[in-house]
């Protein structure tokens, strides 16, 4: 028992070491700034121009977009980059389990999303003078969304390839697809029944709804269902990444 606790402690420290290293090495790389930092703001402003959005509504959308794009940007950029220069081997050979390494990589994307969305939140509060209806749910929503979407990005980072370009395109396509089917730009209440059914398949819909609850105090879905779906997404989406890593271990990539 004591041995297990010690090992868990060791693995946590090792995962944290990977997180700190990735933050130092990758957060300011052009790929991360472009896909993780600038992209959500471009998206938000391009779809908000000439639409008379309520300040709270606008902030909720900006936060959902920021968390989504920023968190999902890390995995497809960092891991293929490390594979291409073989530094990923150093991590795979290090004394930690695959799950520990993957949790570390999820934390890298999640912290990036939390930091950028905090900037967006502060800007929203200062510029638009928005009052947050439920700060507790806002913190929980940012955290759960960041973890869920970072886990989503990790799937693409786990594809066995040494070329980051092979991963960026499909991951960008998926992110855009999810963005358009979710209730970010067209609220769930204004969607047709068919579009709404499709929207329910996207985790971004629940993140957006949770942001609506948090900022404006109301949403279309039960707030606890939003929380549950994001939590479940974080857990379930880890499985494909584990399987892809095992496949890479067989293929030798």
């Amino acid at each position: 028992m004591q041995l297990t606790i010690q090992r868990l402690k060791n693995e946590f420290l090792e995962a944290w070491t990977v997180v700190v290293k990735d933050i130092r090495v990758y957060y300011l790389r052009p790929g991360m700034i472009m896909f993780g930092f600038l992209m959500p703001f471009f998206m938000f402003f391009s779809f908000s121009v000439k639409r008379e959005l309520d300040a709270g509504d606008g902030l909720a959308r900006l936060l959902a977009l920021t968390i989504f794009f920023t968190a999902a940007a890390a995995g497809p950029f960092i891991i293929p980059t490390e594979r291409s220069v073989r530094t990923y081997d150093r991590l795979l050979a290090a004394p930690m389990s695959l799950i520990t390494l993957l949790l570390g990589k999820i934390a890298v994307g999640a912290f990036f999303a939390i930091a950028v969305s905090t900037v967006a939140l502060i800007a929203g509060l200062l510029i638009f003078d928005v009052t947050i209806a439920q700060p507790g749910f806002l913190a929980l929503g940012i955290f759960l969304g960041a973890v869920a979407f970072s886990t989503l990005g990790l799937i693409f980072g786990s594809i066995p390839t040494n070329n980051p370009g092979d991963v960026q395109m499909p991951s960008t396509l998926l992110r855009w697809g999810l963005m358009f089917i979710s209730g970010v730009f067209v609220p769930l209440g204004e969607m047709t029944t068919f579009a709404r059914i499709i929207a329910y398949f996207s985790p971004l819909t629940y993140a957006q709804d949770l942001m609506n609850h948090s900022v404006m105090g109301s949403g279309m879905i039960n707030v606890w269902l939003d929380v549950a779906v994001l939590l479940l997404t974080s857990i379930l989406l880890l499985w494909p990444s584990i399987q892809l890593h095992k496949r890479a271990q067989v293929l030798g990539k």
């Binding site: 990977v18 290293k21 530094t87 081997d89 150093r90 991590l91 050979a93 290090a94 271990q249």
Partner: protein, 330 residues
Amino acid sequence: MNAIEVNSLTKYYGDHLAVDHISFSVKKGEIFGFLVPNGAGKTTTQRMLTTLLKPTSGQILINGQDIARDAYPAKRVMGLVPEESCVYTELSAWDNLMFTSRLYLVPRSERADRAHYLLKTFGLLEKKDVKVEKFSKGMRRRLSIGMAIIHKPTLLFLDEPTPGLDAQSARDILGLIRNLNAEGTTVFLTTHLIEEANQLCDRVAIINNGMIARIDTPENLKLTFQRVQSVEVSLKPNGHNYGEELGKLSGVISILKMGDKWRLFSEDPSLLLPAIIKFAEKNTLSIVSLNTLAPSLEDVFLEITGSPVGAVQQVTNNNDAQKHGMGEQK
């Protein structure tokens, strides 16, 4: 207990068989050389031993523990120097070492001392705060080795540690490997540089077509292949090419032009020596030098892997031969 024990290890990539049921063991404290021609399963084997690649079948025990069941204990005692110097070029040399020391849970109180010692040993101390992207290939290689040993591994895997380095850097790294071994580290060296294996290794395994052809000490391997001995003769030049006539001497298996010398391969050099002297007298040639040579590890390697003796040099020398109108292979 052996440091490494490998039983019937096999690896397929699709239909391609890269490693074919190899079995061997590495004793604790020895330098074990894995001599493999390029592209013949060299890195595949090392990646399987270091848990980076999953074998198709077979078993790997590190310090008696099956790494397929739990790789954690093995990973804790391993150090890995891959063929490419995988260092973080965005970080300084110091930060690279600190990162690895934290990753391997080196006690906080020892990290700085060990990093300082390694940087000093590798001649990188003055550049410790310089980003690695500004380092030369040799400096990156030394740093990569430093990162592999900062946690004092008892088992060190080295994949081609010296190719591409200048002579001084290569000599420094070989010296370092010897020192680590003298301090008790078991070393698994994968290389295609035969002379490097000859100088460093207690035992070598020669791999051919994904299978182990021989495992023995370098000297025993040479003894086994006494039949590939040779005589090296240098004749004072007189403008005539004697290669063809030397090749026709009794007992010569093959002949190779090497600079201003001819190397005549024979199963019995003692019979060949008088023939060469007689040949020189008959043609009124002065012998500059005449030596019998025992088989080198390279000769043994070429013999085992199926290539004729001198095959590697033949490519070079045949090109020379075409250019200069000399040199031939019988």
